[in-house]
Amino acid sequence: MLSLIVFLPLAAALVLGSAPRLGDTVARWAWVVVAAVDLALVLGAWARYSTPEPGGLALEVKARWIPGVDSSYHVGVDGLSLPLVAMTAVIFLACAVYGLREQDRPRLQAALFLFLQSVSLGLFVSADLILFFVFFDLAIVGMYFVIAGWGHENSARSALKFFLYTFLGSLALLAGFIGLYVAASPHTFDMVELTRAMPLSGRPVAGGLVLAAILLGLAVKTPTVPFHTWLPPAHTDAPAVGSAVLAAVLLKMGTYGFIRIAMPMLPAAWRSWAWAIVVVGVVSVVYAALVALAQTNLKRMVAYTSVNHMGYIVLAVGVAGLVAGDTAQARSIAVTGAVTQMVSHGLVTGALFLLAGVLHDRAGTYEMGAYGGLAGPAPRLATLFAVGSFASLGLPGLSGFIAEFQIFTGSIAAAPVTAVALVGILITAGLFLMALQRIFTGETAGASVGFPDLHWTESSSVGALLLLSLAIGVLPRFLLDVIEPAARTAVVLVGR
């Protein structure tokens, strides 16, 4: 089942890529159909999913791959990965619908995004470190070609920076993985077995070094301050669908790695360094919010709020390692919040980047100062952008609130000092309101004059994402019931 979900888009990508005579319209719709079928399959998997025993996986498949280093094709899902798998399928479907209006080589673009969908889904279901790494690296390669091939302005430069920077992260990650492999006895790359065995638990120095390598790799990918500098240029020059996938899906690979790999496999080292991780999280939250506040380019601003939102997740997973007394309940709430935030940020920021793409498509600029009074000519755009902004800043009733509320409840209960990160929410609220005001209110002027409102492809793709955010905000149980058992397990695992 999972293998079908993962490889169906890849198969479609190969067909699309090797059929040069296929018409553009057929290619665009083929992408939508495949993404929709894949989403249906994911929903089927969700229906068949039942919470596995702690430390185990549901819908598991294991096949030999490279027996010499005990690496296997091992996939499975649990409460941490299933929501991300579903979110990934949703985002790619939204991008497919949005891409119906693409004019520049739509067939190749569809093939490339289907390839990216396969590797993203594959990463979230991987239960083997090498398999995880393969998908991690391929996602970088795929995104490089998206930015270099369909980006604008300085896209070649931004793509290069993105590739080199995140490749550095992936190699650090690989070094950490090899360290885990060599330390485990018997040697293995299997995630489930490594979690059970906890290699390096009695060796603080080696454990710290391996954790440092893995954290460096994940921190570049997430990204957290100070490794975030590749993100704003990559986002600014990427096409709209590329930005949406980059922010919604690829960034989650970093934060997911924290919870899936670093925490349960190196619990002792994680606990020793928990405070450092918390500090990085808080700094990311506050610093990125301040930098976002200073941006005049809408896409850069949203990019920095991504760093800010990732900061909340890093903060929460750091707090999970502050094992003391009776805070297990609070820490599991924080981890639940972190996973919810991954899903919520994916939906909301994906929507915001697609909307930013509309601005560039119509007027060729992301500068907020170039617009004014845009709500007049484009009311649908204004409405959806306002909803997206409110979801992003954490207004109750939308998914961002559920996530951030849980993160702060858990974190402040376990470590009251983390309340300083609340400043971040305040600043984000301010900057989104200012952006709304600058672009949409006042006299219709500048690039806003004669601005065509959203096409149905745009409003339906963005609208669906925001509706889901609303659904999570109002009726979160369907999501939280899946995440909570896994979050409790994660907290138990890090406390060993």
Binding site: W65, V69, V134, L138, G151, S155, A156, A159, L171
Partner: protein
């Protein structure tokens, strides 16, 4: 201990095939020279089949213990012959109907035979024979490209080869002097009691000779010139096939060395020097073949990593063989792209390739990213397992050096990929190039070879488990 010459059937097939091609070529008209290509292909295929049967049998030795027939030799035979086959496919464009066609095939087969002798040699004298048989045809092959660059490259390779050949013989002499034998098993038994300084000097000499064949630091100077100055077919061959024999040869030599000399450290330092120097020198190159030439120098560094932990990590030999196989197809794929577009001798000339020839551009991307070690290509599995072997063998710093150098190498491969896939084509250049593209025909054999080899490198990576069972 017996002669058992049949155990060397794969080598004999190649050598006889070379002789037939050479002699037959002199009796054939210019437009019938393709017959010698068929002869060469048959010899290579026959050699591969014979090697597969030999690989299935138990490890043994031929010619009174001087030539090992085991997993290392078996895989080297198959990979080297398959690599030469791919090179012959490139020759279909470049050499068909030229004056030196049959001679080139003969020399390719002779050199391949030499590299196989190097791979299986368990005796210093046999090793020397292998060195000469592998390198002398190389000088001629490089010189076949007429022109100032070809002449310079041939001269450089010949002088370097002569120098390092003498150094190799000197090393052999010293090792023989202190041990009284040239057989590796005897060396392993007696060298531990010999004076370490003499053993070290002898090892250095033999190692230097083999590094010339492999094209690694400090004997690498001829490689970039040869890659740039010789024909594409020869460039693909000389940066790929000789390395197979040389590195398996170095591996065998390392196993015979005693603990009294710090050979693991020496090999590790040579590995780091090779990968770093190759990478740094590749940065500024504008000619794609010269860039690839330097990149092969750095690849030798990566290939030396498992040798440094030979005998101390169970992964060492399988990872070396896997890396060699992956490197062979991936490197030939990259050279094949340059052969398919012989008029593009600058990186900038590849601008817009993805629009004009998407499949060739894809093959280029797979080959170059494969050389970086991007999954799921075969070189990724090779790099992963060699780094793991190094860490497992107690050299974690060497594994880190591998990863750091991998990152460094990405930069110059991207310098080639980026123009090929750039989205914007600017102004007049675009028109000029469009005109050029219209008249330019990608050479068919080379383009097919590039795509096939790129596909093969992915397939090898995905099926690494199956291969692993065969070579473990």
């Amino acid at each position: 201990m017996q002669m058992r010459p049949l155990l060397m059937l794969p080598e004999m097939l190649l050598f006889v095939g070379g002789l037939v091609a050479l002699l037959g070529g002199s009796f054939l008209a210019r437009d019938r020279q393709w017959v010698t290509r068929v002869v060469a292909v048959l010899a290579l295929v026959g050699s591969i089949v014979a090697s597969v049967f030999a690989l299935a049998g138990d490890p043994t030795t031929a010619f009174e213990g001087t030539f090992a027939v085991d997993t290392g030799t078996g895989v080297a035979r198959i990979v080297a012959a398959a690599g030469t086959l791919l090179v012959l496919a490139l020759a279909g464009d470049e050499l068909a109907g030229t004056a030196r066609e049959s001679e080139t095939y003969a020399l390719l087969l002779f050199s391949t035979t030499g590299t196989l002798v190097l791979a299986g040699a368990q005796d210093l004298i046999v090793l020397m024979t292998g060195f000469l048989l592998a390198s002398i045809p190389l000088y001629a092959l490089i010189g076949l490209a007429r022109g100032p660059r070809g002449a310079e490259a041939a001269m450089k390779a010949y002088l370097m080869g002569a120098l390092f050949g003498i150094v190799l013989m000197l090393g052999v002499t010293i090792l023989y002097a202190v041990s009284g034998s040239t057989l590796y098993p005897d060396l392993a038994a007696t060298l531990a009691d010999a004076p370490p300084a003499a053993v070290g000097a002898g090892l250095l000499g033999v190692l230097a000779g083999l590094l010339f064949e492999a094209g690694g630091v400090p004997a690498h100077f001829w490689v970039p010139d040869a890659a740039q100055g010789s024909s594409g077919t020869v460039a693909a061959f000389l940066t790929t096939v000789p390395k197979i024999g040389a590195l398996v040869g170095i591996y065998r030599l390392a196993l015979a060395m005693p603990d009294t000399v710090a050979w693991p450290l020496l090999v590790a330092l040579l590995a780091i020097a090779s990968m770093t120097l190759g990478n740094l020198a590749a940065y500024a190159q504008q000619d794609p073949r010269r860039l690839l030439g330097w990149s092969t120098v750095s690849q030798v560094g990566f290939l030396l990593v498992p040798v440094a932990v030979a005998g101390r990590a169970s992964l060492a030999l399988p990872s070396l063989l896997l890396y060699l196989a992956g490197y062979t197809v991936t490197n030939i794929a990259a050279f094949a792209v340059t052969c398919a577009l012989p008029r593009r001798r600058e990186l900038a000339a590849y601008r817009g390739l993805s629009r004009e020839r998407p499949w060739l551009a894809l093959a280029l991307a797979v080959a170059l990213l494969g050389l970086v070690g991007t999954p799921p290509t075969a070189v990724f599995v090779g790099k992963l397992t060699t780094a793991t072997a190094a860490w497992d063998g107690g050299m974690a710093w060497l594994a880190v050096a591998v990863l750091v150098n991998t990152l460094v190498s990405l930069f110059y491969y991207l310098r080639w990929i980026a123009p090929a896939f750039s989205s914007v084509d600017r102004g007049q250049d675009a028109e000029a190039r469009a005109g050029q593209a219209a008249t330019e025909v990608a050479l068919r054999w080379s383009a097919r070879t590039a795509q096939g080899a790129a596909l093969l490198s992915i397939a090898l990576g995905l099926s690494a488990g199956l291969i692993w069972q065969a070579i473990d």
